[in-house]
């Protein structure tokens, strides 16, 4: 039995190193994300954003974080004191625990041992992600309930319902990944994507193509799961103040903010790991570069999704709650469910059919779906100048400052040339898009 203890100790230093590395990578990426988001959203809203501290204001988050230490962190009288403090701690700890199974790099040799840059390559790695996701629900719920105040409670119940709804869709999308790769182990899934897809020479076998519907469901799910705009109903300022963390202030509020932004980084990292080959990429050069390059690829791919999150926040207005739930239950879950069965059938046919497809069938089907989606999407697009009858009557009531009518040449001439978007005047970047700055 004591042999277990010995083997535990041999893994101690690599374990501590990877744990610290994972912690730092995700914390620093989160800090950068907060800065990048404020800059990009600033650009989109025709203002500057933070630009004073450090080059381009990149150190702003650091300074804001330091400032938060000196803010009063008061506890309102009616709250459940213990749970009120446990909830924000749980939020950050669970967020950080989620990333334990995500490889941030390839193999390195250190401390006389060769190991992969992942905290723990668990045999049930994918389920670990799901389990931590379901624990995150508790942080939100506890925060809302322990506040003993109406707005937080409503925000928490909304947020919880939203998170669990999209957890199913995400879980089923991940099931498609498992089905295709045949393993729950994250390192197997990453290694699988390093193989050649056979579509054309050198094409990596990244799963977003053969599993495109699952990928699409996962991406929608990850926005809902992080409760980011346009799915941030749980903290719809106009209705619920700040949602579940209304009663929070100071560092405990900061913890919720950190966990929210970290959620963006984590979900981006997960989607990169599952659908875009994780740290896979061309590796060359001397030893130290070979160890570093996968980390660079991983961070670069993750950044793409982080920027996607930010652009989405800047561009899209908030969805209505009923529409959000309907989207989750009536579109996302059925699509994911049907796709699991279709995917299994495709793989089964592919395995039995010794024809010319030669294992390329899933990728070909995926390619077909992508092309179909590209062809159909423009047809579904509504004319932005087309207004409903309700909007038209509002436009009439508004008088001179009316909304542009489709048949109104004057208005069309006014709006079309400079923005290229007929609906641009209706969706001004309202103050609701700036709420994060308030607390910082």
């Amino acid at each position: 039995m004591e042999s277990t203890l010995v083997s535990w100790w041999s893994g101690f230093w690599p374990g501590l190193f990877t744990a610290l590395l994972t912690f730092l990578v995700f914390l620093l990426t989160t800090a950068l994300l907060i800065w990048a988001e404020r800059r990009i959203v600033g650009l989109m809203q025709d203002r500057l954003g933070p630009n004073r501290v450090g080059p381009l204001g990149v150190l702003q988050t650091l300074v804001d974080g330091a400032k938060m230490f000196f803010k009063e962190d008061f506890t309102p009288g009616m709250v459940e004191r213990v749970l009120f403090t446990v909830a924000p701690m749980l939020a950050v700890v669970v967020s950080l625990m989620t990333v334990a199974v995500i490889p941030v790099g390839g193999e390195v040799t250190m401390f006389g041992q060769t190991f992969t840059l992942v905290t723990a390559d668990l045999a049930v790695g994918v389920l670990w992600l799901l389990a931590m996701g379901s624990l995150h629900v508790y942080a939100v719920f506890l925060a809302g309930w322990s506040s003993q105040s109406p707005y937080p409670l409503m925000g928490a119940v909304r947020a919880t319902a939203q998170m669990i709804s999209y957890e199913i869709a995400q879980g089923l999308a991940v099931a498609a990944v498992i089905l295709y790769t045949g393993s729950l182990r994250v390192s197997d899934i990453v290694a699988f994507q390093a193989t050649d897809s056979g579509l054309f020479p050198g094409a990596p076998n990244w799963l977003f193509l053969p599993l495109f519907p699952a990928f699409a469901v996962f991406v929608v799910g990850m926005v809902a799961e992080t409760q980011r705009p346009p799915f941030d109903l749980a903290e719809a300022e106009e209705e619920l103040v700040a949602g579940f963390h209304t009663e929070y202030s100071g560092m405990r509020f900061g913890m919720f903010m950190l966990s929210e932004f970290m959620g963006v980084v984590i979900q981006s990292a997960i989607v990169v790991t599952l659908f875009f080959g994780g740290p896979n990429g061309p590796v060359f050069g001397p030893g130290w570069l070979q160890g570093l390059l996968p980390v660079v690829w991983f961070l670069a791919k993750t950044s793409v999704f982080i920027v996607f999150f930010v652009l989405l926040r800047g561009a899209e207005p908030r969805m209505r709650y009923d529409k959000l739930m309907n989207l989750g239950w009536k579109i996302m879950i059925p699509v994911a469910l049907v796709w699991v069965v279709v995917q299994a059938a495709i793989l089964e046919v592919d395995r039995q059919w010794d024809g010319w497809t030669d294992g390329r069938m899933p990728a070909l089907v995926g390619l077909g779906i992508v092309l179909l989606a590209l062809a159909v999407t423009p047809m579904l697009r509504r004319d932005p100048t087309e207004r409903t009858e309700a909007a038209r009557s509002v436009a009439r009531d508004l008088g001179p400052r009316r909304l542009p009518e489709k048949d109104d040449p004057a208005v069309q001439a006014d709006t079309t040339p400079d923005t290229g978007r007929g609906d641009a005047p209706h969706t001004p970047p309202g103050p609701e898009h700036d709420h994060e700055e308030v607390g910082v």
């Binding site: 039995m1 004591e2 277990t4 203890l5 535990w8 459940e80 749970l83 668990l122 045999a123 049930v124 389920l127 670990w128 799901l130 389990a131 996701g133 379901s134 624990l135 629900v137 508790y138 719920f141 506890l142 309930w145 003993q148 409670l153 119940v157 919880t160 319902a161 669990i164 957890e167 729950l184 209505r320 009923d322 529409k323 309907n326």
Partner: protein, 201 residues
């Protein structure tokens, strides 16, 4: 005493303590949360037994879904979800019943397995693939029966949803405009639900 034993004892104490708190807590939400801790502890026990898939399932299903269901149930009813406490006069009775149940279970388990000794080796690791093979080749019938059970639960959910029309809470009687034209009772029953379903448009 190995390191594993120490971890196990810690987990067992926490799990047992949380279980006791679940039934003695006077606040319903606290009770539900202690239940969550208990279930998490059982998950940790599975992990110590090298059944990591079952451990994760324990967390995902029991902690992630069932306890959340309880919490939502508390939010839904007029159960006291604030800080007010509650108590039942049936406490002595409950103690007698649970003590009896505990005694019976202890006797049963000791008589059934008391003399069995499991070899004290390294925990045997079972892979998810083995588990899958077992479910989908040996235990096919029970697996399909599970789907029937879930089907029943879904139908129950349909009934639950159909019972209420419009919003929960005090039923607001919305007088349908068509009532003047056709005041059959069937129309009256159906109309509020239709008026309330504004989200569909």
């Amino acid at each position: 005493m190995t390191s594993l034993d120490i971890v196990f004892i810690l987990v067992a104490v926490v799990t047992g303590g949380a279980a006791v708190m679940t039934v003695t807590s006077r606040n319903l939400v606290h009770a539900a949360l202690f239940l969550g801790v208990t279930l998490a502890g059982i998950g940790a026990t599975f992990l110590l037994l090298a059944a990591d898939f079952v451990a994760m399932v324990q967390v995902v299903v029991y902690l992630g879904a069932i306890t959340v269901l309880f919490l939502f149930g508390l939010m839904l009813t007029r159960a006291p979800i604030g800080r007010e406490t509650l108590d039942s006069r049936n406490r002595p009775m409950a103690m007698v019943v649970s003590a009896a149940l505990f005694g019976i279970l202890v006797v049963l388990i000791v008589r059934a397995f008391g003399s069995n000794q499991f070899p004290a080796t390294e925990p045997i690791s079972s892979s998810v693939a083995d588990l899958g093979m077992a479910i989908f080749s040996t235990w096919v019938f029970p697996f399909e029966v599970v789907s029937m059970m879930l089907l029943a639960a879904l139908v129950g959910a349909v009934l639950l949803a159909r019972r209420q029309s419009g919003d929960s809470g005090t039923e607001t009687r919305v007088t349908p405009i068509r009532e003047a034209l056709d005041d059959s009772t069937e129309e009256l029953d159906r109309a509020p639900a239709e008026l309330g379903s504004g989200g569909e448009r």
